[in-house]
Subunit: 100 residues, 2 copies
Amino acid sequence: MANKPSVGQFKAQAQVFKALAHPGRLLMLDELSRGERCVCELAALVGSEMPTVSRHLSQLRNAGIVDDEKRGAQVFYRLVTPCVMNFFQCVASVREKGRA
Amino acid sequence: MANKPSVGQFKAQAQVFKALAHPGRLLMLDELSRGERCVCELAALVGSEMPTVSRHLSQLRNAGIVDDEKRGAQVFYRLVTPCVMNFFQCVASVREKGRA
DNA sequence: TAGTAATTTAGCAAAGTGGCGAAGTCAGTC
DNA sequence: GACTGACTTCGCCACTTTGCTAAATTACTA
């Protein structure tokens, strides 16, 4: 019933893409594709302060891309939808064709 | 040779995602997936002014997602990398899992 | 050459994004 | 109960994005 997707659908999808539209968040997702990580590990990875990283992660969580689990004093994040990692191949081809 | 992608790579990829992170641009891409369209057709589709649509299209072009061709007084845009349309399925699953 | 239509570019105001430090919350330790 | 560490939320500022109108550009027509 959705041959012509509605504007609302695109709005929701744009939110997901928006969550992916940041180098630091992509770096974190790449790391999470190899297993769950706590916030402090990801903060060290991207080299930003923890508040900054925490907010990036909540953006990814709100988009439904990652999930979090509190264990003790630490919070571990993991990738919920690994298929987003497939995007990278297409995006790479986008960039290659772009410069052709 | 790229087991550990560099920050620069993620920066470039984020640019592509950024180009996709707008409902109107997604709507236009969906339309372009069914064939080339001129700017005025796309403007009518999204219901924005032509200058606005023109800028959105140049963003998509700069990202390497679409290509343009001038024919007479009109400029026709077409999808260069149809694989970006595959994203939508994964994004849809992201949103479904997100609300589970 | 004038005139009209299709696009793009430029300039402006409003809204959103990203980063940091300060402060608040929660878990484990002394 | 006080203290420390991990994390989140808040407030602030700088920067970017977005949409509009006005103006410049290009193609076609009379």
